[in-house]
Symmetry: C2
Subunit: 326 residues, 2 copies
């Protein structure tokens, strides 16, 4: 590919003058400018951003670490984050960690090498300490990564409470919630603690089913739903994320149990998945787009060297009534 030297040679000027034209800075005679622009076109020249980035010590790239891109929650998150980054003139790199420490660690190292200007991490497997050594701006989604890394999340306490209350209103007497198997304590796990607490306060038995999958795959959800259907025949209320909730409804339907007549379901997340099953899901909705743009806004602040007003952003959840509860 042509370089600025080639352009300078062809236009018979110095590289500095070409640079001035490229960046529209300093004095350049109109005539000279034309000559240079002609040379640029003739050579199909495009400035090398790598060289620019080296000089300016910034890349214009931000990275997103997610456990799984095709999970609807993260797909929507990435979608919104990319759009927000674009509006800041930033490009977006994605890193799929598959919930594995190795991937996460390797990617962090890679991103540090690539000198990305900032990182938004939505993964939870790696130790906090590993993040300390990455001296780039970082924003965490749904995870507390120490004192100097801001955390963006929704109000999961409220979400867990809303879910519990919806099932109680729906008349449930014995409920089950499907929880993740996360080792680290994340804000999002709080919803399960609150959910259980509210149930106990109301004298309702609450079973915690710990999911075993670590891939987003409908067949895994179905398998879990089948196991639940066989093991717990007397549950009349479920709390799970969108996809698992959908799998539960379908699986139990095949066992002859109708939702919402025989049992109720409250889902969590509120991705488009919640409108697909029949009956449609009553869901606690996370404002994914707002989460993403908050992360990006915050990250851009860090990139500019500004101090964020708060290290903990908590957005509100929303209750969306579907047909899976009474």
């Amino acid at each position: 590919m042509a370089t600025i030297q080639d352009v300078a040679k062809r236009a018979q000027v110095g590289v500095a003058t070409v640079s001035r034209v490229l960046n529209d800075s300093g004095y350049v005679k109109a005539e000279t400018k034309e000559k240079i622009q002609r040379a640029i076109k003739e050579l199909n020249y495009t400035p090398n951003a790598v060289a620019r980035n080296l000089y300016h010590r910034k890349t214009g790239i931000a990275a997103l670490l997610v456990p799984e891109i095709s999970h609807p929650y993260f797909a929507e998150f990435i979608d919104a984050a990319e759009t927000a980054l674009y509006s800041y003139g930033y490009q977006c790199m994605i890193c799929n960690t598959w919930r594995e420490q190795n991937y996460e660690a390797h990617y962090l190292e890679l991103l540090k090498q690539q000198r990305v200007d900032g990182i938004i991490t939505g993964v939870h497997t790696l130790d906090i300490d590993r993040y300390r050594l990455i001296d780039r701006p970082i924003v965490a989604l749904d995870r507390q990564l120490g004192d100097n890394i801001p955390c963006v999340a929704v109000n999961h306490e409220k979400g867990g409470r809303m879910a519990a209350e919806a099932l109680i209103r729906s008349g449930c007497r014995k409920v089950l919630q499907v929880t993740g198997q996360s080792h680290v304590s994340t804000p999002s796990n709080r919803r399960h603690e609150i959910f259980e607490q509210v149930m106990h306060e109301n004298g309702i038995e609450c079973i915690n089913y710990i999911s075993k999958w670590n891939r987003f795959s409908y067949t895994d959800f179905r398998d879990a739903a089948l196991e639940i259907a066989e093991k717990y025949t007397d549950i009349d209320g479920f709390f799970a994320t969108d996809m698992t909730a959908a799998a539960l409804i379908h699986t139990l339907y095949e066992k002859g149990r109708r939702c919402p007549q025989d049992f109720s379901v409250v889902a969590y997340d509120g991705t488009y998945v919640s409108s697909l099953p029949y009956p449609s899901l009553t869901t606690i909705v996370q404002p994914v787009s707002e989460l993403a743009s908050s992360c990006v806004d915050l990250l851009m602040k860090l990139v500019r060297g500004e101090k964020p007003e708060t290290m903990n952003i908590r957005l509100d959840v929303e209750y969306r009534q579907g047909s899976s509860t009474l």
Copy 2:
């Protein structure tokens, strides 16, 4: 951040020697090596990939152009592509074009500047000519971009035929297919031509409904489904992509029409969405992961400067029986 100069100074050696240690090349005394590694650790030094990339004239980055990240088809595609790229030691940049020429053009320019090593494009809005000037390796998903850009797609003719035959087997007498509004002729549009053709061969009336949305949003799909439900009351067979098919089933159900008793539906794509509605969808499945890894394999070949054996890769589609047809 520390540079190789800092490391050299601290270890009291030349930068060349440090470089040798970093790249494990040439001769370095064990003692010196240790000294250098100590300095690296003490300074928390990480080599600057931007500088490396500049010298080597390659970035180790590939870019994915997609119309919309959160669309399940593309989310799964990106997911698989990222994984494949990772196995080649490549990082993945994503660009959301929202089906707009401006975004697509702007991103192409940006990617050229950033000197990404390769581009996989899954978007169709921009003129072919614009791709000629991007002298980087490109692979196109589902689109013919001239003679020297390879195209990866599924056998859409077969897909369209299978869909038609499924509806015929299901006893349909008047069918409707929901098509995109694409201006450019893409391999994927072929399925609609074949579908219509097969219907006519069998003396079955076929209506083409051209979708108006250009965002992936369930409410848009529902609106379209509502319009269809009201305008065409005598249709007993539908052909549409997963999400639209789901919306049709739900909307018609609310109008008192049961699937598959009163009408049949064949969906296209075969993302996880097809397992969510009730009844589950009979679908023509595109092997999205294989499409993605084919694109990546092909792109890596181009990056290495090899000539691909074929400029047209066609993968097979699969018929998956659900409960939305008889």
